[in-house]
Symmetry: C2
Subunit: 472 residues, 2 copies
Amino acid sequence: MTPAQFRKYGKKVIDQIADYQEAIESYPVLSPISPGDIRKNLPKHPPEKGEAFDTILSDWQEKILPGITHWQSPNFFAYFSANASGPAILGDLISSGLGVQGMIWATSPACTELETHMMDWLIDLLDLPKHFHSTTEGGGVIQDTASNGTLCALLAAREKATQFKSNESGIQGELVAYTSSQAHSSVEKAVKIAGLGRKNLQVIEVDKEFAMNPNALEKQIKKDLEAGKIPAFVCATIGTTSSTAIDPVQRIGEICHTCDIWLHVDAAMAGSAAACPELRHIHDGLELADSYAFNPHKWMLTNFDCSAFFVRDREALIRTLTILPEYLRNPATESGEVIDYRDWQIQLGRRFRALKLWFVLRYYGKEGIQEHIRTCVELAERFRSWVEEDPDYELLAPSPLNTVCFRHKKGDRFNEQLMNKLNEDGKICLTHTRLDGKFSLRLAIGQPQTKEKHVIGAWNRIREMASRLDRS
Amino acid sequence: MTPAQFRKYGKKVIDQIADYQEAIESYPVLSPISPGDIRKNLPKHPPEKGEAFDTILSDWQEKILPGITHWQSPNFFAYFSANASGPAILGDLISSGLGVQGMIWATSPACTELETHMMDWLIDLLDLPKHFHSTTEGGGVIQDTASNGTLCALLAAREKATQFKSNESGIQGELVAYTSSQAHSSVEKAVKIAGLGRKNLQVIEVDKEFAMNPNALEKQIKKDLEAGKIPAFVCATIGTTSSTAIDPVQRIGEICHTCDIWLHVDAAMAGSAAACPELRHIHDGLELADSYAFNPHKWMLTNFDCSAFFVRDREALIRTLTILPEYLRNPATESGEVIDYRDWQIQLGRRFRALKLWFVLRYYGKEGIQEHIRTCVELAERFRSWVEEDPDYELLAPSPLNTVCFRHKKGDRFNEQLMNKLNEDGKICLTHTRLDGKFSLRLAIGQPQTKEKHVIGAWNRIREMASRLDRS
């Protein structure tokens, strides 16, 4: 494709995306298709000869779009949001267009330097502990996902707890990791990947607000120490996936500090809230953390993937993950003056993801991001108040941020049917979780296009559908 | 940013990228900046208020672009190429614009189905073994990088070799992995991550063409078996990073088959060549592989990231990586009728990467991709012949594909200086490796814009610079 053709088709694609943004509320939020529906309309083999770009574009609209669930719809209240925004999309477009590789500083210096700079900007924006700043012994890096952040933290913890011998000789001793029963599934996955074994993940009980019970943690650590095991890693959560519960990081941090255990704090969804001073209390105790992750790609207007990961001791991370083959040796690396982010992550290759973050932070400014967060939190508060006032419904968890866990009082089966009917209907999309064994609906507000009318609409729709279900 | 603003600014960005593509040869290929040069021009803190998009765009051009190394330049001969193309960039743009999540089928069915379909198309395009096809017990998935493909393969091998008990109980027994001394650094990294320990990675010697010596592999396996160890994983390479050497996969596969060892084949760069029937011999023996990876993002016109990963036994992979928290339960998953790619990779979240691959395969067709590969291979052959004919230069390795390893006969120091001078000069960019201890220049041809004149220009530049260096 020549630059002239790219110019022409690129503008068509931009128009299509803008049209899509304008029409987004007209689509059923959850794609209504059945397994196999998309594949059956596609030819079995790739074409021998190239096809016209216009044909491809119209096939995209006709054959693929109907199988899309519209995550950017203002009526999408499922899972956690995966924010996108115009500046982020365009930053990402430039990243794709240039096709640069940021595996090491030398492969494209601006890619690394802008990333370091953006990580420092995020520290400023969220008022994160200074020991994560690039001018200290710590630092930040963009990971693809918080899952990989957790894995990197666990690996560094594994090495630190075994004097960096596990990398060389395999797992040394019975290392134990701790997290709450409400933590993200990626903690268990990381424990398995890193070779600790799931049985060495101690799942700590939560209190009635679904936050980790620090006394239970302390007790378990003591028990493990007495049994000759090596407590190596605690993952605390700020904003659990089920209900945005906030673990008591201060208390957990003190325990970790006393017992010399690596504390990772996973604030994948919730972290962005700290852009607002009045919500910054979610990070209380964070100065005790060894590592921390939050995802601008969830709630900070930056499209997937973009997970900000910070460590207190960058040497521990780098020593764990470094590899330097001959073909990547270069004077800049050997000078020690530069950061090579290859050594801060699992993969080698890396996109220029800092660009979209830079675009977002500049286009919206602190104020714009704060406004986005505040709108979501206020709308969630309002929704919660409606649930509270309705005698047919109950709340199942506190909702400190943008997610409300609630249900109709008619029990599990009714609520599951209610959710399925709502999603089938296509006007809104929401998902569920289980809290204290109860099937709970979750309404998570995170899309920048979601206004009060959408949340009112969702509440009306839920009650209407429940009445209909009740009568049937 | 409203849809109308997105329409306006999006077109500006498209114009900028097209302008960039047109002017790409006017930039110094390797960015000439020094550490800190980019950061020092950026404000220390993020802005309080949002800024105009035009300001951001012009800052991008003035403050960031000078720090970019131009991987898409036709004069970029370093590392391995990281192909981009118009259709890929625009497919990726739609993926960003829609912001869908493909972690499971239910979160956006088309995202999963198009991916499965594209993996099957790639089997057709490269004539890969049928046991990787989605209609068999195997299947394909898009990973971000071949590093993660290797890690996933190793993890599945680890579990299979220990009756799936390592996930639960930690590494069971002394598991051993094998790869050649020329394999990619990600093998060692994966072995460390997975908890086997680097000392359990047996690095097998290579023959004079830098391909793994299968007799040495066999001997080592026997030795390990006698010592009570568990040989679990062999990673063979088709197209090593240093010199594109091709391991004897058929022979290695037979050994693995006899000893019941998981064979992973890493063809990250070279795999795309199999689109051409006359180059398909690089895959001889691949029907014995348990898993296989190649990167369309290297040599198949699809921008990073897009690594195609295939397994023979999808159950082994899924059983190794699956996690199903309540909030992701859904009827489609429970029906067993759909693929949930979350269980095929390390991370949870995933972009809609199949879209760009679909755009590329359709826009270029089999013929277009073959033409691209053939041009690169022919240009490399031509370059090799010039080196061969020049008495001042020598070849250091066979060049079966697109990469020529060569050097001036004046030895290590001279060649290192030569490379640095060439890269400083900015007209071309190339990197080095070491072969048999000798500092070797590498010229890798992979950019679709690279024509004969660029390769002639590179050769003239190299000889000119060498003469100048010789005189100085």
